[in-house]
Amino acid sequence: MTEFHTERALDEGQAPAFYLTEEHHPEGSTMLGFWLYLMSDCLIFAVLFATHAVLGRNYAAGPSPADLFDLPLVAVNTSMLLFSSITYGFAMLAMERYEKKATLTWMAVTALFGIAFVGLEFYEFAHLLHEGAGPQRSAFLSSFFTLVGTHGLHVTAGIVWMFVLMAQVAKRGLIPENKRRLMCLSMFWHFLDVVWIGVFSFVYLMGVLG
């Protein structure tokens, strides 16, 4: 049963406190529900991958992947995401040992790797736009920006979520609610790394291959 503290506080003539108390959720349902959300997200990416598979060779006499993509940059980008996956794993291990400080530190490291990833992606996009290879140039670039941009948007949301949870953990500690939230973010973060495997293999490497 959840209830707003505000309501009760107002009845008793106290100053309202704007937060929600929740009972300890049965965690099984939360994790399964979150997994189902990830699977629905997986379908979004599958459709975007299918679109890119269909349109990815339609250059409209414009630049092709071999002209545009900077593979060393993509390799650095990929390693940022891979490092962020292992550091989030370390945060989860610290959480299991109830080490609040270590958990927060590893989360901060993960967030920094995530920011580096999004930053490099922004740099890449800015570079492409500067060369006149924006999403409106060809069907290939439209599907490229949609697919890679959607993934980047997910990572950005994950970083925001990371900072929110860092504040939660710093304030309330490693209580069961926060552990549950951290595990959901863990699944989200590792899932994005899985999607990126598809992106670098299919979009970048196969694209450059021609």
Partner: protein, 133 residues
């Protein structure tokens, strides 16, 4: 708020016969390290194949890239997402299999339909192309 020590959870889950969601967070330093090392190797090989232009055949290189990508996805699923047939009483695995089925239909169906659409289009001359809206 009761917090039980991690060592109790396995016995707790074994007793109840179903997971309480802790599976998703359960990994060991060894499993994370194994997953990381495998991922680095599985990422490095395809990048190396393309960047150093190792193989003459583009088709063979593409096949290797896709195969290694598929293996790496499985590695991430096992070592980072802790997928197994037991978590949530098998429901996560069921959801995963269902999703893979849908993804396979969406991908192969799109490619099949669009490929046939392209090959069965009326031939178009460059002049017709120029006058297209």
């Amino acid at each position: 708020m009761s917090t039980h020590a991690p060592s109790h959870e396995d016995a707790f889950e074994a007793h109840h016969g179903h997971s309480h969601g802790h599976d998703a967070g359960h990994g060991t330093l060894k499993s994370y390290a194994t997953g990381f090392v495998l991922s680095v190797i599985l990422t490095a090989i395809p990048f190396w194949l393309v960047m150093a232009d190792i193989l003459d055949s583009a088709v063979l290189t593409a096949a290797i890239i896709m195969a290694l990508g598929a293996v790496q996805i499985v590695v991430h699923m096992i070592f980072f997402l802790h997928m197994n047939t037991r978590s949530e009483g098998g429901w996560t695995m069921m959801a995963l299999i269902f999703t893979i089925l849908l993804v396979a239909i969406a991908l192969s169906g799109s490619l099949w339909v669009m490929h046939h659409l392209n090959t069965n289009m009326m031939p178009m001359s460059p002049e017709m192309m120029k006058n297209m809206p």
